[in-house]
């Protein structure tokens, strides 16, 4: 079955997935060298979700994401430089160095974080959608969260409220089968996550999150429905992370065999192979993409390395609108 897309589309999708992959690999290296500190959650293996979704959503839509958001942020349009600088903690980072890896924000790109409390972003997404509805805007608020978030009360409350008040939220559940170290079947009573939303009157669908084209199509369809009906919808994206939950995770909770098995579905390798066999993309294209990605990352590191540290004297800035003293 051939990919039903153009060469340009294929290149775009592939390029963006590779950019994320290389950024994440480099971030891992920088973390081990202590350039990036704190927690680091890599998106490796899940790239198709972020890329497909960002390609499907409009510039004007709102994005709320989790702490595993580097890929979403990058493809949304936050420059790699600013992401890297933010992870370094430098003042030229996209959050001014105040947030770090888990709290990438961009007002310009309607990227509302970067949230580290599981489930904590859902009410925010509901609120953004509420504001848009009250103002008569036709935006979609896309809210990314993991399977772990479906355990939290806020998940259920948010679905309920969004459905009740008919708010334009697109709930996007990136189900990578683990809530940190707890497998899906051990943290949800009904393994089919897509069964939850209908209980609140929200239509739900599932898609293979390792297939970037499928993701793009599905998110696009759902987003348009949200936009038209101004009512919430739910899409589960089945994916898998190839790396640990975060850098400091010995992965005692899953076997290497399982990971290897899932790696066979590497979204990049598979898409690349198909794109090549369909004649959409050549090895030369891929080499060029890799070279560009390497360059982009090298520049990002340079930018971050040369960034300034925010002066300690400014520490009370951004606590309140105006310094209280």
């Amino acid at each position: 079955m051939t990919l039903d897309i153009s060469r340009d589309q294929a290149l775009d999708l592939l390029r963006d997935m590779i950019r994320i992959r290389r950024l994440e690999e480099k971030s891992a290296e920088l973390y081990s060298k202590q350039k990036i500190r704190g927690f680091l959650h890599l998106y490796i293996g899940e790239e198709a979700v972020g890329v497909g979704a960002m390609h499907a959503l409009r510039e004007d839509d709102n994005i709320v994401a989790t702490y595993r958001e580097h890929g979403h942020a990058l493809i949304r349009g936050i420059p790699a430089c600013e992401i890297m600088a933010e992870m370094y903690g430098k003042a030229n980072g996209c959050s001014g160095g105040r947030g770090g890896s888990m709290h990438l924000f961009s007002a310009k790109r309607r990227f509302y974080g970067g949230h580290a409390i599981v489930g904590g972003g859902l009410p925010i997404a509901v609120g953004l959608a509420l504001a848009d509805k009250m103002k008569g805007e036709s935006r979609v608020t896309a809210c990314f969260f993991g399977d772990g978030a479906t355990d939290e009360g806020e998940f259920h409350e948010s679905l309920n409220l969004a459905a009740l008040w008919k708010l334009p939220v697109l709930f996007l559940c990136e189900n990578n089968e683990y809530a940190m170290g707890t497998a899906l079947y051990r943290h949800v009573s009904d393994r089919d996550i897509a069964n939850n939303p209908p209980a609140y009157g929200i239509p739900a669908d599932s898609v293979n999150g390792m297939d970037v084209v499928a993701v793009e199509r599905a998110v696009h369809n759902e987003a348009e429905l949200v936009r038209e009906t101004s009512q919430p919808r739910f899409l589960e994206l089945k994916t898998y992370r190839f790396r640990a939950h975060s850098m400091y995770d010995a992965e005692l909770y899953r076997s290497k065999e399982e990971v290897e098995e899932h790696k066979k579905q590497d979204p990049i390798e598979n898409f690349q192979a198909r794109a090549i066999s369909d004649g959409l993309v050549t090895q030369a294209d891929i080499d060029a993409i890799e070279a560009d990605a390497a360059k982009e990352i090298a520049e990002a590191i340079e930018f971050a390395e040369h960034g300034e540290w925010e002066p300690v004297e400014d520490i009370t800035r951004h606590t309140y609108a105006r310094d209280l003293s």
Binding site: E25, E29, Y31, S32, K33, R37, A244, M247, E251
Partner: protein
């Protein structure tokens, strides 16, 4: 040459154990290959290498625990072959997985805690080792003034509490310790008391638990609040108290001598001719140095009276009497007056006088004099008969150096003559010793180059 370092694998990871090497020296590795397994608190983590090349050296053995950032291996460029025989991290050399004591680990461990520095030598006589270091005289005084010794900072050697320390606290000075269980007083009341120069030890408190409150201070019958600075008053009182005691308790004897300062002054002129203005020496520094050197020979005069006997002082620290504007007087010590060059001593003396006048002396300077020198020459008087500063046992007073008719080899010639008076504690020395001291002093001043 690239380095593979112990990676940081988590926010709070400071060190890791290189549990197992997955490569050997000579192996080719590519970016992303698993090169080792690292044991962390959370379990065994496979670690990747970020460089490509040939493993040239493995620097850490399996089982070694090393800090994050430690170089674990060296990766050479592909073409470079490992020339020297590498040190292989061979499992057969070490029990697998055992935590071998690594050099780094051992180096980091601390031995038994070193004993805290400089224990007070128990050699000082008559010192009560069980409580704060204070002589019986000091204790008696503290009791009289109702000052608890526990709270007093001793400024004497080894933290010994001196009379001045006790005096200072009693006069409501800045005692570091609060009034402890002797005086309960509210912060506000204490502040008012200080401002008004009221002695809180004399006030009866009517607050809870007998605490002194503001009203108690305000209604205490006190003399007019003085307008002068509390510090100056305190000093005046301290001097008064000390002088009274000296007069009461120390049997003074006095020996006087006239010293021909001709040679000293001539030498001074000659020496100063080649010095810049700021470096020039004054005759006072010669006298100072001479007194110090003389004390080396006449140790009995360089002592303090403690608990009924003279305790020889370890060093020679001549206190220089400095008068202050406003009528105060201090006699800070020039520590080790007998050591160093004359120009050093000159610089130190100048600095000490300046700081005395500015009021920025160290407490050790105020309390560590072993003898005092008071020169009233500048005031133009011929001589001074000084009172000893307790607990010192001697004091040297100098008058002005004046041209006088003098007999030299049968002829009457004008000579610059300085009258020196030694006041000394007759419990410690006698006129004989005093006289010999002055003789020595004279002799020293005739040979100024040797000072």
């Amino acid at each position: 040459m690239a380095e593979f370092i112990m990676p940081s694998l988590g926010a709070d990871m400071t060190a890791g154990i290189l549990a197992k090497w997955r490569v050997a020296v000579g192996d080719t590795v590519s970016h992303g290959d698993i090169i080792a397994e690292v044991e962390t608190d959370k379990g065994l983590i496979e670690v990747e290498v970020f460089e490509s090349g040939v493993v040239e050296r493995l620097l850490v053995e399996e089982g070694e625990k090393v800090p994050v950032g430690t170089v674990l291996a060296e990766i050479g460029a592909e073409s470079a072959a490992a020339a020297e025989s590498p040190r292989k991290a061979d499992a057969s050399h070490r029990p697998r997985g055992a935590l071998a004591p690594s050099p780094a680990h051992r180096a980091g461990s601390t031995g038994p805690a070193a004993a805290p520095g400089s224990i007070i030598s128990a050699g000082s006589s008559d010192v009560d080792l069980d409580g704060p270091l204070a002589s019986p005289a000091v204790r008696r005084r503290a009791h009289e003034l109702d000052v608890p010794l526990e709270g007093v900072q001793g400024s004497g050697e080894h933290g010994r509490i001196t009379l001045d320390d006790v005096q200072g606290v009693a006069q409501g000075g800045a005692a570091p310790a609060p009034s402890s269980d002797r005086i309960r007083i509210s912060p506000y009341a204490r502040r008012i008391a200080t401002e008004r120069g009221v002695d809180v030890s004399q006030i009866r408190g009517t607050g809870p638990g007998g605490a002194i409150q503001a009203n108690d201070v305000l209604s205490a019958r006190v003399p007019e609040p003085r307008k002068s600075m509390p510090a100056a008053e305190r000093m005046q009182r301290a001097i008064a108290a000390a002088m009274t005691r000296a007069n009461d308790e120390i049997p003074h004897y006095y020996v006087e001598h006239s010293i021909d300062m001709g040679r000293a002054l001539a030498w001074l002129r000659e020496t100063n001719a080649s010095l810049s203005v700021s470096q020039r020496l004054v005759s006072g520094v010669l006298v100072l140095r001479a007194v110090a050197h003389a004390l080396r020979k006449h140790k009995k005069l360089n002592a303090t009276w403690q608990g009924g006997e003279a305790v020889p002082s370890a060093g020679i620290h001549v206190g220089l009497a400095v008068s202050l504007r406003g009528g105060g007087l201090v006699a800070p010590a020039l520590r080790n007056t007998d050591e160093g060059s004359l120009s050093d001593l000159m610089a130190r003396m100048t600095d000490l006088v300046a700081r005395s006048r500015a009021g920025v002396l160290r407490s050790s300077e105020l309390t560590s004099s072993t003898i005092t020198l008071t020169s009233l020459g500048e005031r133009g008087v011929e001589s001074v008969t000084p009172i000893i500063f307790p607990p010192q046992v001697a004091i040297v007073g100098c008058g002005a150096t004046l041209e006088r008719p003098w007999v030299v080899e049968g002829q009457v010639v004008p000579r610059p003559i300085m009258r020196v008076t030694l006041g000394a504690d007759h419990r410690v020395s006698s006129g004989h010793q005093g006289a010999r001291f002055l003789s020595t002093l004279d002799r020293l001043l005739q040979d100024p180059e040797k000072l």
